[in-house]
């Protein structure tokens, strides 16, 4: 197992390098490339543009720029004031040493911006996933145990609907219903707020936070529950038909114990794997939910950066995101081998 993990980690290195090269190339094929963020207004004189280009090393060939982006330029002489003469060491450490540069727009370090937004995204995703589990597990299990019952058919149909409904449209409908139409009968205000993490100017209270969480969580929940409940249903159905379940019944185990001790525990194994694969969403968050409900998280940070072509932010989120995806895939495999002793990796 140990060698397997090491080998997988080693395999991840060229893959992430590939991702970084692809992203770097991509950002640089747009006309103007990263420069377009500076020279939005065409009034900037050509000499000034040239100076910026030299200052940020954008006049160097792309492979050199890539290497600098990757490992920094503190070990080489660069032109710090843009006058065309190399006059000192650079200050960039490169993404490999955790330096993702500065936002073009606000000049803040990208990592600080991410650190600022990440907790909010994790917060929202935590509740979304928590309630996904609370709803999806019983629905999936009951659907499987009572296959083709009224409950199962309803749940399966709803799950098809949940997978087909566009998340952003669902969000609009929820705002329409809970903010636009329904009012709180006691206060006469809208039943749920349409955005933000808490009421402006109000003290933090659990009730207020819950009210603000309700709509974005509900919006994210639908697709997840639809997917996970169907997945657990088929996993459970598969397990129920296994020999060891028949053995448990033949031994005279109660049906309760057969289903929950023998069947469910095994049916949950693929679900754990699936969850490990979905783990990166905790970092990237739900872009639509964050935008529609003005939730100040990673999705919104990315979206705003994309509209203002703030490439350092975009690259940082995508690269870190890919890294998390790669690690999650590995975690999924390890979890699978750990939970299901029949699985062996070499």
């Amino acid at each position: 197992m140990g060698t397997y993990i090491v080998r997988r980690l080693l395999q991840a290195i060229p893959m992430l390098l590939l991702v970084s090269i692809a992203l770097f190339a991509l950002v640089n094929i747009a006309p103007g490339g990263p420069m377009s963020a500076y020279s939005r207004t065409n009034r900037m004189p050509e000499e000034k543009k040239e100076e910026i280009r030299r200052k940020f090393g954008l006049d160097k060939p792309l492979p050199v720029q890539y290497v600098v982006w990757l490992v920094g330029n503190d070990w080489m002489q660069i032109d710090t004031d843009g006058d065309g003469i190399s006059d000192g060491n650079g200050t960039r450490l490169g993404i490999l040493r955790g330096d993702f540069g500065f936002s073009y727009k606000t000049r803040e370090p990208v990592l600080a911006l991410i650190a600022d937004r990440l907790p909010n995204t994790v917060y929202l995703m935590f509740f979304t996933l928590l309630f996904t589990g609370i709803v999806a597990v019983p629905v999936g299990v009951i659907s499987a145990i009572k296959q083709y019952s009224g409950f199962d058919i309803t749940a399966t149909t709803l799950s098809f609907m949940g997978q087909a409904i566009p998340e952003f449209w669902l969000g609009l409908l929820l705002i329409l219903l809970f903010y636009g139409t329904l009012d709180n009968p006691f206060t006469g205000e809208a039943l749920f707020p349409s955005g933000g993490m808490q009421t402006l100017g109000a003290e933090f209270s659990i009730l207020d936070r819950a009210r603000h969480l309700f709509l974005p969580v509900l919006m994210g929940l639908v697709g997840w529950v639809a997917w996970y409940s169907r997945f657990l249903r088929s996993s459970m159905l598969e397990v129920i038909n296994q020999d060891y379940i028949r053995t448990a019944r033949a031994k005279g185990q109660t049906e309760q114990k057969v289903l929950y001790k023998h069947a469910l525990r095994n049916a949950l194994i693929p679900l754990v794997t699936m969850f490990a694969l979905d783990f990166p969403y905790i970092f990237t968050g739900s872009l639509y939910a964050e935008l529609l409900f003005s939730w100040p998280g990673m999705g919104r940070l990315f979206y705003n950066a994309a509209t203002s072509r703030d490439y350092p932010i975009l690259m940082a989120i995508l690269i870190i995101g890919s890294g998390i995806v790669v690690l999650s895939n590995l975690m999924a495999d390890i979890a699978y081998a750990y939970l299901d002793p029949r699985v062996r990796y070499e």
């Binding site: 395999q11 098809f160 139409t181 995508l318 995101g321």
Partner: protein, 310 residues
């Protein structure tokens, strides 16, 4: 000999029916899947409506300021938008855009995914290794964010065919993310079939590699490829709407379901019909496509087909 007699004769006094082809059996199974049948009917209707969108008396892009924000009525069944344009007409034209994006994405996906998957699966070795790493790398980038970055960049890039926020640009953007799934699927088919005896026999008879790939192995993957392509249309329509909704997809005045929803946000509570109808169309299209895909998966599953032969 009586001419009416069954040419295949009788066994145990029962007439022997001519053997049914796999296609007939699959079609029989497909027809028994209620969701797939309902989905096919609804999708056919939706396609017909968008194809004949030109019959509408209104123009999708010409504004009529006197008739802004009209609620749904007989004259304007879906109401009108902020520029007085008939929403039903725009929704139908938007459907053309969304459905053509869906089909083009599948076209791109298949034309990249099938050859790459075949090559990786057939030749194996270092070719397979390199191609699989590229696939893993592509799939490891968070998808929606990657789509946004691609769309933001490609619409500015000066490439042949891919210009601005055209249908082609969006299809290419989505295609970049969807081909790896098909490639993996095709590769898996090749890995299972490559070592079978009939492939070995074909090799022994001196069949060329292209012939073995195209005629002997690839047809085994038709079932899963058809299912994946069907579901791919739905996925592409969903992502295109999402991108257009975010302002990175099809740009107004060209209507698309996504950009119509973006437009609807501003006056959501006052003019809810702006948001309800385009979203409903996305929903209906995707649920139909998904049910058809589900029906096809059941119908084309060789074990299930054979199970029906008693």
């Amino acid at each position: 000999m009586n001419s009416n007699e069954n040419p295949l004769g009788k066994i145990n006094n029962k007439p022997v029916r001519p053997p049914e082809t796999m296609t007939t059996l699959a079609w029989k199974r497909f027809r028994r899947h209620p969701g797939a049948v309902a989905g096919s009917i609804i999708l056919t209707l939706l396609i017909l409506m968008t194809v004949f969108a030109g019959l509408s008396p209104y123009d999708p892009e010409v504004s009529d300021i006197k008739n802004r924000y009209q609620a749904p009525s007989l004259e304007h069944p879906f109401g009108t938008d902020g520029l007085g344009r008939d929403l039903l007409t725009r929704t139908l034209y938007g459907g053309r855009v969304s459905m053509s994006v869906g089909l083009m994405v599948v076209g791109i996906t298949l034309s990249i995914g099938v050859p790459i998957g075949s090559i990786a699966g057939y030749y194996g070795g270092w070719i397979d290794n390199v191609l699989m790493r590229v696939i893993d790398a592509t799939l490891s980038i968070p998808s929606l964010m990657f789509l946004i970055l691609l769309a933001a960049i490609l619409r500015e890039a000066e490439l042949p065919f891919v210009k601005g926020n055209s249908v082609m640009t969006i299809a290419v953007v989505l295609g970049v993310l969807t081909w790896p799934t098909v490639a993996r699927l095709v590769r898996a088919v090749f890995l299972t079939v490559r070592e079978t005896d009939y492939v070995k026999a074909a090799e022994a008879l001196g069949a060329s590699a292209p012939r073995i790939i195209l005629r002997e192995i690839l047809p085994n993957g038709f079932g899963p490829i058809i299912v994946e392509s069907t579901l791919g249309v739905g996925y592409a329509i969903m992502e295109e709407s999402g991108l257009s909704f975010l302002g990175f997809g099809i740009m107004p005045p060209t209507p698309s379901w996504g950009n119509m929803l973006n437009n609807a946000q501003e006056h959501l509570s006052t003019y809810p019909w702006l948001a309800i109808f385009p979203g409903l169309m996305i929903f209906l299209t995707i649920i139909s496509v998904n049910y058809i895909g589900d029906g096809l998966r059941d119908a084309l599953d060789p074990y299930k087909i054979l199970g029906k032969i008693e």
